[in-house]
Amino acid sequence: MSDFVRHPAGVAGAILLTIIALAVLFGPLVAPYDPQAFHTTVRLQGPSADHWLGTDQFGRDLLSRLLFGARSTIAFGVGATMISVIAGSLIGVTAGVVGGWIDSVIMRGLDGMLAVPDLLFVLLIVTMLGAGTGEAMLAVSIAFTPGMARISRSSVLSIRTREYVLAAVARGESQRYIILSEVIPNAIGPIIVEGTIRVSFAIMIGATLGFLGMGAQPPSTEWGLMVSEARQFMYRSPWVVAVPGLAIAVAAMGFNLFGDALRDAFDPRRSR
């Protein structure tokens, strides 16, 4: 862990994630205005003492909308990824442990799903389920599951032949003990790393769905939707699209940096 502290990307990622976590936890409490309140006299204004990040086309305070939107935007990414990590590791560990023709069938099915680009896959599922935040979240988690399953399977397979597992087999431990106490704790590192990095993709896809009108619906303060709603005014006041757009980038970057640092910390062979 001391490596982690000295890792500049890790420190930057941790700082960004702390800011984001604070916004998610306390954002609505510290927001200066009601995110839905119209202030008709100050529409599309730049930053000022009253409105630190300016106002949108209805005069709504952008800082307040951003702080409220942190929950829907970040929770979306984390939630969708967590579902896919759980479902994916169940499938992957099962395939890796059972092996044989079941493994082959599962893997061929996953290959087929992985051949469809993520965004296209998500769009197909959302069209099937209907637009909305919950539907979009389910769609992203379904689309991410094959990738997670593949990583957990390969992680299990590489551990099954390690000396400590062979030692446990030689000791005559039960299959159940070996899987729960030897294989899974050691396979979980790569899964957590991949999951952390995927949160940033989930946030980006969620915001893209909001932008396309297939995710969060107005008057939600989801950041992608904020960009989409402000686009018709973007030439007059670039500020209104830049603020939520950059917020998405900061959130995605936080998870990316943190995930990379975690990977280096878990993998001693990788030099910095």
């Binding site: 990307a9 061929r108 099915g109 290959d111 087929g112 799903m113 051949a115 469809v116 680009p117 993520d118 965004l119 296209l120 769009l123 197909l124 599922i125 069209t127 099937m128 940033s200 980006m204 896809i205 915001a207 893209t208 932008f211 396309l212 992608g224 960009v227 989409s228 686009r231 973007m234 030439y235 670039p238 699209v241 830049a242 757009g245 950059l246 998405i248 980038a249 900061v250 995605a252 970057m253 990316n256 940096l257 030099s271």
Partner: protein, 315 residues
């Protein structure tokens, strides 16, 4: 590389496409409202719907419908678009070439810029150049296409810039300068995220190569640094770079959906969004299969290139 390997890989591509076609068909079967509802509209009476469903064969078992649909596709008959009253093959065919012109432009630009950037960063590790490239890579991979596109539009197509058209398409054989001016912004948007990712991966591959024993041996032999890099380091970091690029084609194919919608580029992505909004099933099925096929074939192609580049890869 043996002929057996090639046949096996081709077979696995075919298998993947069969699985995708199953999945696509299943998804479109589950979609609420069948083709009859889509043709007649929501105010059609129950009798009219049943009659049309009978004519279209929608009340037959799903596997018969699947085999008929798949059989038709094998004979290059993609069916009729429910909304555009045109053969799907025609609509999708035009859109495919428009998308290809955008995707290939983006990909070629990215490869030309990103690989040298990654190599530069690896050669000057820890320097300001490396830091700058690293920062660019992190920011680039964190910006979704719609954010990059919007920012590019504001700065390069708005009243402040105003140099480039904000959207639209001119075919390259119609007016090449027209094509170039229209392709810059969408290709730039697609390129940014790929460039960032590829540069970062090339840097890490190249760093691993530079830290390897055979590079040390080459240096100890007294070879000039330029020879070490050119004859030993570059060729060995090229195969991993090809692998990264082929995986990124998946991102590219997803990215064109959003980018074409924003820049009004008449390609597969824009057509797909239109088809999804209007529940135009045959068009949705055709585009999904086509994109999956392109992705699978590009992966196959890159595997072959890697096998050709890297003598250690034997199948």
């Amino acid at each position: 590389m043996s002929l057996g390997y090639l046949t096996r890989r081709l077979f696995s591509v075919l298998l993947v496409l069969v699985i995708v076609s199953f999945a696509v068909f299943a998804i479109t079967m589950i979609l609420p409202g069948n083709a009859a509802v889509m043709i007649l509209g929501e105010y059609a009476t129950e009798d009219q719907l049943l009659a049309l469903a009978e004519v279209l064969g929608l009340n037959r078992p799903w596997y018969i419908q699947y085999f008929e649909w798949a059989g038709n596709i094998l004979q290059a008959d993609w069916g009729m678009s429910l909304r555009l009253s045109l053969p799907v093959g025609e609509v999708v065919g035009d859109a495919f070439w428009n998308s290809a012109s955008l995707a290939v432009t983006a990909l070629v630009t990215v490869i030309i810029i990103a690989i040298p950037l990654g190599i530069l960063a690896a050669l000057y590790r820890g320097s300001k150049v490396d830091l700058g490239i690293g920062l660019f890579a992190y920011v680039g991979t964190a910006m979704p296409e719609f954010v990059t596109a919007t920012l590019l539009l504001v700065f390069l197509a708005g009243s402040a810039g105003g140099y480039l058209p904000a959207g639209g398409f001119i075919a390259p054989n119609e007016s090449f300068p027209g094509f170039v001016s229209h392709v810059i912004l969408p290709a730039g948007t697609l390129g940014l995220i790929l460039m960032a990712h590829i540069a970062r991966q090339v840097r890490s591959e190249m760093s691993d190569v530079l830290a390897s024993d055979y590079i040390r041996a080459a240096r100890l032999k007294g070879l000039r640094e330029r020879t070490v890099i050119r004859r030993h380091a570059l060729p060995n970091s090229l195969a991993p770079a090809v692998a990264v690029i082929s995986l990124d084609i998946g991102y590219l194919l997803g990215g064109i959906i959003v980018v074409e919608e924003i820049f009004a580029w008449p390609g597969l992505g824009r057509l797909l969004i239109y088809a999804l909004e209007n529940r135009d099933l045959p068009v949705i099925q055709a585009i999904t299969l086509l994109l999956a096929a392109v992705y699978a074939l590009s992966n196959l192609f890159s595997d072959l290139v890697i096998a050709a580049l890297d003598p250690r890869v034997r199948y």
